[in-house]
């Protein structure tokens, strides 16, 4: 083997670092600005509802209010807003606070709709309603011919659909031979009036040109966008609200952590990161430089992924981020300690690097997978803040694996394989006298 130093690899290292650095420097501010901050960090808007009984038998008590909060939570999930604040006030009021919602009007509509589907003829006679649907059977789909976004719902009984469509075919002709699919029909609404409206409660009025339909799967094609079809399917699945909600008022609301909290938190975070960098450099010397590069990349990638997901950063999210930084640093430390161990045992730089990487991998994998597993459970079983925390944690762990394990291997590997570090254990923070003869 040649003893010479391979300068090409070191040049490649600098090329990668400069390219990544340039990418981060040129986009980090835009990325940071795009991050949606949660209610606790930047405020949002709030709606105060008063709950009314749906019928005379119903009583508004803490149980029905609590059920209503659950349904509201399910709907807010549909909106993709994380960590809303929902509080029960007095005997019959519910305050909903949402952060980072750009379209407040549609959010309010989505929250307060009763989500009761009904199928009627043009004279508004009820043919089928929500109780005929299979629970949780609504789905967003695409029409097979036109490729337009549609919503499909599943009926419990094909016979009922057949009877209903036969009724329409027998009794109506021409433009009246349609079945009106209503969302939130109220006593007094009529087909004639409603079909003319721009924002109609009738989401679709299909005809029956090919005879009666004896099927359980019904396609509802309205003028949907993919998004609005997804929302409708989501609301239908989350179920009807147990009570009727009347909006008392809505307005914007300030951050609960105060105006300065965010700025202070960011500064504090930067100080913390600077301390970590300083410590890694002092302790691991040359490997610390690699750690600084990969940790910087880690934080940037987490921000970018977070933006892609359109997630909302809240205090629990920051907690998960701190834990994620900790686990990314930990992955670096585990690897470096292993490499130092191997160097001390008298191995050459190259073989210490190789076996240090190999032996640290299973440690990092087991620790990360265990934490990932726990985070996965929290996403599945958790609600709002618990879920928000866990999602952020999963993103952090996966990213840290990418940067701290693969990134470190690549970057440190370029230097090690260039042979420039051969016989320089001090660069790794290992003193000559600690090295044992093989």
């Amino acid at each position: 083997m040649k003893k010479g130093v391979k300068k090409g690899r070191i040049a490649l290292f600098f090329a990668i670092v400069i390219a990544v650095g340039a990418l981060i420097a040129s986009t980090v501010f835009d990325t940071a600005e795009d991050i949606n901050l949660g209610l606790d960090l930047q405020g949002g808007f709030e709606v105060l509802y008063e709950a009314h009984p749906i019928d005379d038998d119903q009583e508004i008590n803490s149980e029905t209010l609590s059920d209503t909060v659950d349904s509201l939570n399910a709907r807010i999930d549909v909106l993709g807003v994380s960590e809303p604040s929902i509080t029960i006030e007095g005997d019959n009021r519910i305050r909903v606070q949402l952060a980072g919602v750009s379209d407040q009007q549609s959010a309010r509509e989505l929250l307060a709709t009763e989500a009761e589907l009904s199928f009627r003829d043009v004279d508004d006679n009820l043919l089928m309603d929500g109780s005929d649907l299979v629970e949780g059977g609504a789905r967003q789909n695409y029409h097979q011919d036109t490729n337009e976004p549609i919503v499909t719902v599943t009926l419990q009984d094909a016979q009922k659909m057949g009877d209903a469509s036969q009724h329409i075919i027998d009794n109506y002709d021409g433009p009246d031979e349609v079945m009106a699919i209503w969302l939130d029909y109220e006593e007094g609404d009529t087909f004639e009036e409603e079909i003319m409206k721009e924002d109609s409660k009738i989401i679709s009025a299909p005809g029956f040109s090919s005879g009666a339909l004896y099927e359980t799967d019904i396609m509802i094609s309205g003028s949907f966008t993919t998004e609005s079809a997804q929302e409708l399917a989501g609301i239908l699945n989350s179920g009807a609200l147990p009570v009727e909600l009347e909006e008392v008022y809505s307005n914007s609301v300030g951050a609960s952590l105060g105006e300065q909290a965010m700025e202070q938190t960011v500064i504090a975070g930067l100080i913390g990161v600077a301390l970590i960098f300083a410590y890694m450099l002092a302790y691991y010397r040359f490997m610390g430089v690699i750690a600084v590069v990969t940790l910087t990349a880690y934080m940037y990638v987490v921000l970018v992924i977070f933006n892609w997901m359109n997630a909302v950063l809240t205090l629990p999210g920051i907690a998960a981020l701190v834990l994620g930084v900790g686990m990314a640093v930990d992955a670096n430390i585990i690897t470096y300690e292993r490499i130092k161990d191997e160097l001390r045992s008298g191995k050459s730089t190259m073989s210490a690097f190789k076996s240090g990487n190999r032996r640290s991998l299973s440690t990092i994998l087991d620790a990360n997978i265990t934490t990932l597993l726990a985070a996965g459970v929290l996403v599945y079983f958790g609600t709002s803040a618990v879920q928000g925390f866990a999602v952020m944690l999963i993103v952090s762990i996966l990213t840290s694996f990418l940067t701290a394990v693969l990134g470190t291997r690549l970057l440190l590997g370029l230097w090690v394989n260039s042979r420039i570090l051969n016989k320089k254990p001090r660069m790794f923070g290992v003193k000559e006298r600690e090295i044992r003869e093989l």
Binding site: N251, G326, D330, V377, A385
Partner: protein, 314 residues
């Protein structure tokens, strides 16, 4: 900070009874205090009253606080609302009497020309979140035990969960003793500690597993103790460096992060240190206790059954 496993005289295992006793007494005291005094629950977990103050101009939290102070009230939380912050939600723990309600209404009608609306708040939602967090973590713990049982062994899983419980109870105890107010953000801090505790414990167990495989004969409890101690010394540099770096991050939030998240970041700092302590002194030592007993029992059984079963399971 290099800990050479060959020359190190650090003996974690010898003093383990002392650490068990220390943690045991500390947590017992904590449990008793939790049951008697209880935690200092904040507005999120207590039923209370909100007063919605409406003004014509922009309000500040300080201004509203002064107004309440002038009639002898101390609000527990103030949030500003409205596009120009002309509304303030002011929260009080507990109910207000009829007289107090009237007094507040009169005062703010005189000051801002609007009668504030006053309503009671129930802590149902925060309580449900706390409950949900507990249930979700409990299910996660079962998942962890299963995974660790597959990758390591069942006893490691149980020890890891005991360490996790230890860390959680630890932070609850400290918050109870210091009577620091606990709000919804505390749940996030506890979740972080749970995550760190698991990560840290697994790294330690990983080294023990590796050393157990390297070791030719692990026949007695003393052998296990030696392996555990060696593993802890070998991972000590990593344990200290990792906890130092995460404490840098959490400590910076604590010192520079502002009043609003101080109790949150305090919980993080305390919990992270507790997580490292429990990995070194509790988790591995509990495992040693379990494993030692298992080995002793197996040796005993093995002596008896040697004729029928020459290959003891390993």
């Amino acid at each position: 900070m290099n800990f050479d496993p060959l020359n190190s005289r650090i003996d974690f295992v010898k003093h383990r009874k002392k650490f068990f006793a220390f943690s045991g007494i500390f947590l017992m005291v904590g449990l008793v205090l939790l049951m008697t005094i209880g935690m200092n629950l904040g507005i999120d977990f207590r039923s209370g009253t909100t007063v919605e103050v409406l003004a014509d101009d922009t309000l500040t939290a300080e201004e509203v606080e002064e107004q309440f102070a002038s009639i002898g009230f101390e609000p527990d939380d103030i949030t500003l609302a409205g596009d120009d912050h002309e509304i303030a939600h002011v929260a009080f723990i507990g109910d207000l009497s009829q007289d107090e309600t009237l007094m507040i209404q009169d005062h703010f009608e005189d000051t801002y020309g609007h009668t504030p609306t006053i309503s009671t708040v129930t802590p149902l939602v925060a309580e449900e979140l706390a409950q949900n967090a507990i249930i979700a973590v409990a299910i996660a713990a079962v998942g962890i035990i299963i995974y660790v049982s597959i990758r390591f062994e069942f006893l490691s899983g149980v020890s890891a969960i005991i360490a996790l419980l230890h860390d959680t109870l630890w932070i609850l105890t400290i918050f109870t003793v210091l009577q620091i107010e606990v709000n919804i953000t505390f749940i996030a801090a506890v979740l972080t500690i749970v995550g760190y505790s698991i990560n840290d414990t697994i790294v330690t167990f990983d080294r023990i597993r590796e050393n157990m495989q390297l070791e030719k004969k692990v026949k007695t409890k003393e052998d296990v103790a030696r392996v555990v101690n060696k593993s802890l010394v070998q991972t000590l540099a990593r344990s200290i460096n990792t906890v130092l770096t995460v404490v840098f991050a959490a400590g910076a939030l604590f010192i520079f992060g502002g009043e609003a998240i101080r109790s949150f970041s305090f919980a993080l700092v305390v919990g992270l240190v507790a997580g490292t302590y429990s990995s070194l002194f509790i988790a591995a030592q509990i495992w040693l206790g379990f494993k030692g007993r298992q080995i002793e029992r197996r040796r005993f059984d093995g002596d008896k059954q040697e004729v029928e079963d020459p290959q003891p399971e390993g």
